[in-house]
């Protein structure tokens, strides 16, 4: 069956130059992703998906850059393995968002489920609201490649577990309507690289991590990320007020957390 040929006459797929509009109602992820790969191969660079509901692996396997707007609730493993694509979600993302992504951008206007940014190798994830458990575990870093996750609200336990590199910034914004409980436990347990910045919470840190205040250099970095965050979500907050609040910095106390445990 050729999906494209069946969708286009019904107006569910409109392609105009390098822009495509697609109604994803009822599509299986295998169909949806194959169609997106095909559109990408045909030169489409901007896709807007409507009525997404549960389709997994959106963006996975695309070989060229693409801007993807997702309206609805994308399924698990959104943007898994993506390599430079940019995904904007209007809604909440489920578990495994940005799983093992290599490069690119995921912006979620809402919350993400558990295990977002697992083993992330590069690129950035911005989450307007909250992140679930095990955010950014086992993030990697090498040379110029450094993955970054910014979460506006709170994050669950074990964030940054086994972290080998990269950066996680949790802002702890508490909006009235969305009172998040923001006191993750076991932060950075087993981490041996990278850095976690957190604001507005008490730190229950894992073993082998250092919890310190931030330095000027850290603040410079935080400031630029917060600006990006505000820009992505059009928030009308004054960065300066915000930035003056207290941040803590979590880093590994050793790059060899397992040394001496075994002999």
């Amino acid at each position: 069956m050729d999906l494209r040929e069946s969708l286009e006459p019904r107006g569910r797929l409109q392609v105009d130059g390098n822009v495509a509009l697609l109604d994803a109602t009822g599509l299986h992820y295998r169909e949806l992703n194959a169609l997106m790969r095909r559109l990408s191969a045909e030169g489409v660079e901007n896709v807007e998906l409507h009525n997404v509901n549960g389709q997994r692996y959106i963006g996975t396997g695309l070989k060229r850059p693409m801007n993807i707007i997702v309206r609805g609730t994308p399924g698990n493993d959104l943007g898994m393995f993506i390599n430079g694509q940019r995904i904007f979600v209007y809604g909440n993302a489920q578990d495994g968002c940005g799983n093992t992504m290599n490069d690119g951008l995921i912006v979620v206007h809402g919350s993400v489920g558990d295990v977002a940014g697992y083993a992330m190798r590069g690129g950035r994830i911005f989450v307007r609201d909250d992140a679930g458990f095990r955010l950014g575990i086992h993030m990697k870093e090498y040379g110029g490649k450094k993955p970054i996750i910014v979460v506006g609200g709170g994050a669950g336990d074990f964030l940054g577990e086994y972290m080998a590199g990269g950066l996680i910034l949790v802002l702890g914004l508490k909006e009235e309507k969305n009172e998040c409980v923001h006191s993750p436990k076991f932060v950075g347990v087993g981490m041996h690289g990278g850095v976690i910045y957190m604001r507005g919470c008490t730190i229950h840190a894992g073993k082998n991590v250092l919890v310190e205040g931030v330095e000027d250099e850290d603040l410079k970095l935080i400031r630029s990320l917060v600006e990006d965050y505000f820009n992505h979500f059009n928030l009308d907050l004054r960065v300066n007020d915000f930035i003056s609040d207290e941040f803590v910095k979590v880093t590994p106390s050793t790059s060899r957390p397992y040394m001496g445990l075994y002999r």
């Binding site: 080998a164 075994y262 002999r263």
Partner: protein, 503 residues
């Protein structure tokens, strides 16, 4: 407290033969031998010796002998030498014990208690030297049936079959990661795989750019650490294997000690140099069987459904039920790794006590999948303790499609099973990433020896198949009728699904 009195090995040096050339000093990586210029003698600290025999091999005058220390703790069956030594070691360090290679416990080898049938009179044996015996195996998901459609006045396949890989021998080279072994070892394996028409699994440490040219014979692995995993990596091999567990250390992750994480390994794995490379115990996106399905299909999406996806588990008590779940979760190949499977480093307690022998697990999995009518839809690769062509034949007769060999291939490269892999100081230049030590391994020679091993075993397999009157691997797979057991209990015979010899 020193623990030297009953060191396991002692170094004997014939002083009249020793020329003080210091080859032993240079070759030993564990600091056993040292030259004392004051006395002009070479002294040996026997308690550091692991019996790797490197110095003996390189001693030009044959002056060295390594022997078991006659000074041993009082002989006991329960408190034997090893048990006492381990306690003393731990009392000293306060650490869990770490060791390389696989579990070597007694009574865990069932291969030796299985015997094969041969043709006599009623069925002619086949002469493997002159008549064709086919050892080709196809690995991948199979549809339950072939559907045909008429086209151009002839019959054609109705639908495309799932992707598969095709090996000319049922022997594949098991996962060994860059980090656990060095690049030369991996390259020797990859080239041997190409020469023999089989595959090498590059393990969980990513695939070095240098090795990508061998991609047509490489299976790439995705483990919980996700080292070196990106879309290019996934597509650089012919198949993708998800490592859930391994026989040497079921239920735990792994860690590559920082000493082994060189600049090059840091680059391939994408972690800072010199840090411990940690593999979490679980895949943190797989907490249940439906999550495994999610990961399998993520990999299929990433490879556009063009590559088979394998799932490797350690053989544990309920392996049969798990394997059934894996098959139903969409895996194309199931890899079972038995308790004797090897590793670069594992806590000894886990290595020696967790998991079950591959023979029993394999038989149980094969039977379970048959009871559910899905055995022929997936392929099974067995691993963990395969020592010879005969073991391969027995594994296939119990129900495997193919086997992975790891330890045997390393022995072909020069490994002496001294179990010091976890130190990263392998004297034979295998389980080390040290640039100097790695040079001890000759790539061409290593490749030749691994290829020789596979060819020799394949020849043995053909001869045994011929003697049984069988000329395709398919007719051997799961052919329990060809096996008989000796010295096995009723229960063991029942699990293995075989009769006792003489019956």
């Amino acid at each position: 407290m020193r623990n030297r009195a009953a060191s396991t090995y002692i170094v004997l040096r014939k002083e009249d033969k020793c020329t003080k050339c210091r080859a032993c000093v240079e070759q030993c990586t564990y600091g056993v031998h040292s030259y004392n210029p004051a006395k002009n003698v070479i002294e040996s600290k026997s308690w550091l010796c692991s019996n790797c025999l490197r110095c003996v091999e390189f001693c030009p005058t044959g002056a060295l002998t390594i022997t078991r220390n006659p000074n041993s703790y009082r002989m006991g069956h329960h408190w034997n030498h090893e048990a006492i030594m381990d306690v003393k070691r731990q009392a000293e360090t306060g650490s869990a014990l770490l060791e390389g290679m696989g579990c070597d416990g007694p009574n865990l080898t069932y291969w030796d208690r299985l015997l094969l049938n041969a043709c006599q009179v009623t069925n002619p044996p086949i002469d493997p030297i002159r008549e064709p015996i086919e050892t080709r195996v196809i690995l991948g998901r199979r549809p339950p049936r072939v559907e045909l459609k008429p086209e151009n006045r002839r019959l054609m396949l109705k639908n495309e079959l799932a992707p598969y890989i095709c090996a000319e021998t049922p022997i594949l080279l098991a996962a060994m990661s860059y980090g656990a072994v060095n690049l030369r070892v991996q390259e020797a394996m990859a080239r041997a795989a190409i020469e023999c028409g089989t595959y090498f699994n590059c393990g969980e440490g990513g695939l070095h750019p240098e090795l990508r040219r061998y991609g047509s014979h490489i299976i790439v692995q995705v483990a919980s650490g996700r080292f070196g995993v990106d879309i290019e990596y996934l597509n650089s091999g012919v198949a993708v294997e998800i490592k859930i567990g391994q026989g040497a250390k079921p239920g735990i992750g792994g860690h590559l000690p920082g000493e082994k994480v060189t600049e090059d390994i840091a680059m391939v794995r994408m972690i800072p140099k010199g840090t411990d490379a940690l593999s979490p115990a679980p895949h943190h996106d797989v907490y249940s069987i439906e999550d495994l399905r999610q990961l399998i299909y993520a990999l299929k999406e990433a490879t556009e459904y063009k590559k088979p996806v394998a799932v490797k588990i350690a053989a544990v008590h309920n392996a049969a039920a798990i394997a059934s779940g894996i098959a139903r979760a969409g895996a194309d190949i199931i890899v079972l790794d038995g308790v004797r499977g090897s590793t670069g480093a594992a806590p000894k307690a886990i290595r020696d006590n967790m998991g079950i022998p591959i023979e029993l697990a394999l038989a149980a999995v094969d039977r379970r999948l048959r009871e559910e009518g899905i055995r022929s839809e997936v392929s099974i690769i067995a691993s963990g303790g395969i020592r010879s062509g005969a073991d391969v034949v027995k594994a296939i007769a119990l129900g495997a499609d193919a086997v992975y060999i790891g330890t045997a291939a390393l022995i072909a490269l020069g490994c002496t099973l001294c179990k010091m892999c976890y130190t990263g100081r392998c004297a034979w230049g295998i389980a080390t990433t040290d640039a100097e030590l790695s040079k001890r391994l000759n790539l061409e020679e290593g490749c030749r020896r691994v290829a020789n091993l596979i060819k020799a075993w394949t020849m043995e397999i053909k001869e045994m198949m011929g003697a049984m009157g069988i000329d395709t691997i398919e007719a051997l797979r799961g052919n329990r009728e060809l096996l008989r057991g000796v010295g096995l209990t009723e229960g063991e015979l029942r699990v293995l699904g075989i009769k006792v010899a003489g019956e």
